[in-house]
């Protein structure tokens, strides 16, 4: 049986929230990286 079958709705929402937070941090870091790459390429 899949362990996720036992997950409560609140636990699933908590995991979604933590994934969304992690994704936001990754996207923020990528924005900074792309900006830095653009500056280097233009200089």
């Amino acid at each position: 049986m899949n362990p996720d079958d036992k997950l409560s709705d609140s636990e699933i929402r908590r995991r979604q929230h933590s994934r969304a937070t992690a994704m936001a941090l990754v996207l923020g870091a990528l924005v900074i990286l792309f900006f830095a790459i653009s500056i280097v390429k233009m200089s």
């Binding site: 049986m1 899949n2 362990p3 996720d4 079958d5 036992k6 997950l7 409560s8 709705d9 609140s10 699933i12 995991r15 979604q16 933590s18 994934r19 992690a22 994704m23 990286l33 830095a36 790459i37 500056i39 280097v40 390429k41």
Partner: protein, 306 residues
């Protein structure tokens, strides 16, 4: 109807329930460490410097590419991982993640890493990165691993690409030294993995993976470990012999290789059959990791100081 069933009823089909940590685990972070390190060393050992931002981007892309390959490997091998103690706790066999999420994550990460490297750095390094991901997934994971005891010999090439990628990112071309570094990691892989396979042999046998220790037996594997160590040592000394590095690398490589040879010889003559008592095999496996880190570290130090 219990609470769990009631609460699951209104979740959309295909809802991803994995933790972000499970996606991280999918990338095999510990394996990634060595790949990133050798890639960084290839970058730093190159004769031309690269802007720190582009250097960081290169290393990031190597890490993401390795992570993508690891994720796709786990997507394909979930059935094997489930029957091996060492891998049963991974997100897919443990049931913490669905296979489709792993596939999408792996493909997306791999494509992103190659495109970013190509746009930000150069096409040669991106092409090698793409080749390394495809080699690991298609040649090693899908084709060789379940079919031949030579799986990790040929598959080892996938892990040998990062120094080439780092060098190509800095210079835009391939030269003798990065090819030697590729050959070094390629020849290092059999003694490294086969020493491991000696003391986790029952795991591989249970999973039906035709590792050398399962198919040919421990004695032949011990011999192969030693035989592959010989060309590895020769390739490790080649940069010094060809005048591509200085005395710092030469003397250090001599010492590191002498110890590797000694440990490999001890594995070759050992007749231990109890995995729990295989001390020399565990020692060679642990030392092989230290060896690669140290050799690449010394190479960079030599190229930067010398």
């Amino acid at each position: 109807m219990n609470e769990t069933m009631a609460s699951k009823a209104y979740l959309p089909a295909g809802t991803i329930t994995a933790e972000w940590r499970d996606f991280l685990a999918l990338t095999k972070p510990r394996v990634m460490t060595l790949v990133v390190f050798t890639g960084l060393c290839g970058l730093l050992a190159a004769p031309q410097s690269i802007h720190p931002v582009l250097g960081f981007t290169t290393v990031l892309c190597i890490a993401l590419g390795a992570g993508a390959a690891g994720a796709l490997n786990q997507w394909y091998e979930a059935d094997i991982d489930a029957v091996m103690r060492r891998t049963a706790g991974r997100p897919l066999p443990a049931g913490r993640m669905d296979r489709q999420s792993a596939l999408h994550f792996g493909v997306g990460l791999g494509a992103f890493s190659v495109i970013l490297l190509g746009l930000a750095v150069n096409l040669l390094s991106a092409a090698i990165l793409a080749a390394s991901i495809l080699f690991y997934v298609l040649i090693y994971t899908v084709w060789l691993k379940r079919r031949t005891p030579q799986n990790i010999v040929i598959g080892g090439a996938a892990g040998a690409f990062p120094p080439l990628i780092g060098w190509a990112a800095a210079t835009g071309r391939i030269e003798v030294l990065p090819v030697l570094l590729f050959a070094l990691v390629f020849l290092w892989t059999p003694p490294h993995f086969w020493s491991l396979s000696l003391f986790v042999r029952s795991d591989y046998a249970a999973a039906g993976v035709p590792m050398m220790s399962v198919v040919a037996g421990p004695k032949a594997t011990r011999t192969q470990v030693f035989l592959y160590t010989l060309p590895m040592v020769a390739v490790a000394m080649a940069p010094w012999a060809l005048g591509l590095t200085g005395a710092i690398y030469g003397v250090s490589a001599l010492g590191l290789n002498a110890i590797f040879l000694l440990f490999a010889a001890q594995v070759a003559v050992s007749r231990e059959i109890d995995p729990a008592a295989m001390k020399v095999e565990r020692r060679l496996f642990a030392y092989s990791i230290l060896y690669l880190f140290a050799l690449f570290g010394v190479l960079v130090a030599d190229r930067m100081i010398g």
